[in-house]
Amino acid sequence: MGNCFSDEAGGKAAVGGTSSAAGGGAAAAANDAIDYYFKSRGFHGIFSQIELSFSATKLRDRDVLSKSDPMVVVYTKAKDGPPTEVFRTEVVLNSLNPTWIMKYAITFQFEVVQTLLFHVYDVDTQFHNVDVKMIKLDEQQFLGEASCALSENPFLVISKTVESGIPIPVCKTEVLKNDHNPIWKPIFLNIQQVGSKDSPLVIEFYNFNSSGKHDLIGEVRKSLADLEKLHSSGKGENLFSPNAGGHDRNKVLKSQLFVDKFSESIQYTFLDYLKGGCELNFMVAIDFTASNGNPRLPDSLHYLDPSGRLNAYQQAIVEVGEVLQFYDSDKRFPAWGFGARPIDGPVSHCFNLNGSNNHCEVDGIQGIMMSYSSALLNVSLAGPTLFGPVISTAALIASHSLANGGKKYFVLLIITDGVVTDLQETKDAIVKASDLPLSILIVGVGGADFKEMEILDADKGERLESSTGRVASRDIVQFVSFRHIQGGQISVVQGLLAELPTQFLTYMRSRDIQPNFLIL
């Protein structure tokens, strides 16, 4: 038998019995009157009025000469109890797909599980003019039955109280569907969000209403410290419904709130790790491709101005380097160039900026600046623009450091004027490095259109995927265009370093690495 009935769609309005009616006057008086009506019929506490209308499809045809004449009988059933008849519709004549006119108004009570049972009967012709209430069901043809429980979709809202008295919501749980004994997923709170562990909190228990006007079922007032005690005692705390008892008192409800889990942990900040001995290691890679322009000409991005004015590359090195070097203990930085031909050599996509064949490090920001200037004299700008080799080299350094038990986090700064020639090659290198203690900051200088580069920065798009089907474990790239920054509100440093703490903390926390506070 098909059956359908409307409940929420058919108009569910919360009437009376909800928390503090705002405003006085006629509205308050009307509520009092409705309250009294329900109370006189034994309905206390929080409730909602629901109207059920009925229709059915594809009923079985029992009559020989005509179709069935169906009627619905509604029963309520308390848990494990026998069903009690509460309602009958009228008889619809001659239909296997009837819609009944009579509607059943039911009062939905939160605290009681209400199961409804529907029986459909085919009413014999001789009873068609009889009042439905008088029809004896055992003389009719039973067509079928269905049952359901009135839905209960609870969720909690936790609010902090402030001086003005109105609670400010801090967080809420998910909505559980059709659950009279709800267990929500854990929620995470920062003690700072609520003030202190002893700050009074209001925990409100709502029933979700698709109209947006959720019904307040009850509440509990506890601080975090109280909740911790509740958890360890294993006891439940009764909800109360404010102002629903007589004389403006709170009515204590039968429902209880239990705290299944309570744990407190310290979440370290980026600075905590740095103070605790974790080092940031700065590395830099500079684009020497021909698109930068001939370094001897003033319009080149690599032009070394005799007046001392820093070009875009130098500015980026100084601004970013000065911040990061503060956290780098030995101030020795690996520095590379790419996209150029060192003297008498083939194009290299990762050559040591200091010109050495053996080691890649330079001393301090000054060291980078000096190596950069002399490299400009000793290489021929070429192409194409490939990041893969410098990223892989930086990744190798990071993983060797891991293998040696180091607590270092590496930051590679790539300064480039152009769009990468082989985007997939770059993605492959980034994906391979995405599970290492490494962040890659890319600054775009000059006037190129860097739209494609933004793909590498996962917050502007999807997670990066390598050509072998591996997906980046985390977003380790931050891309910033120098041109967009200049004259803007934030500096290059702020734009680039904005994500660094998050990338760093994601790495540390996922592995449960804690700062080692050095005892001096």
Binding site: L396, S399, H400, L402, A403, N404, G405, D435, R463, E465, T468, G469, R470, V471, A472, S473, R474, S510, R511
Partner: protein, 182 residues
Amino acid sequence: MGSTSRTLEITVLSCEDLRIGRKWVKKNTYVMVRTDPLNYRATKMDTEGGAYPSWNQRLSIEMPLHERFITLEVHCKTASGDKTIGTARMPATDFMGGYLPENYLNFLSYRLRDAKGERNGIVNVSVKANLPEYLSSNDNDKKVSEINACSMTSKPAPAIPIEDGKNFGFVTGIPIWSKNHV
């Protein structure tokens, strides 16, 4: 003689954006981790996450040293039966060998593809390869200074018999140094 396999601790974390046909998966998904058709482990069923299920379930599986891939299969129990809705292959080199230290906790993610080869979401796992028993040391702070070196043990290792019935036809010999060895 030595161990012919390693124990992997694979924690199946979650999946993203799973579909059957064009529609998002509603529920009842689980993941099977396989080294070969006969050696596999499976997670419990996720009933609530829909197209974004999560399990956070650790599975231990033996991986023979010659195996080059672990297969991750995402299954969905639908009304018409158990369907494999996405597969990914995890190369052993992603979590073993290379420059990473032994016992490194790798967080890895892979693109899932369905039976037709179409993209179908992402699977997220973490993998830790445990050292073969005889290479583990009492010293927790040991450092691995070379890429494929084995660690220094402080006492001679016990002999490990080759497991019956699992003779793969070749032996991996890994030399052991002891502290007393010059």
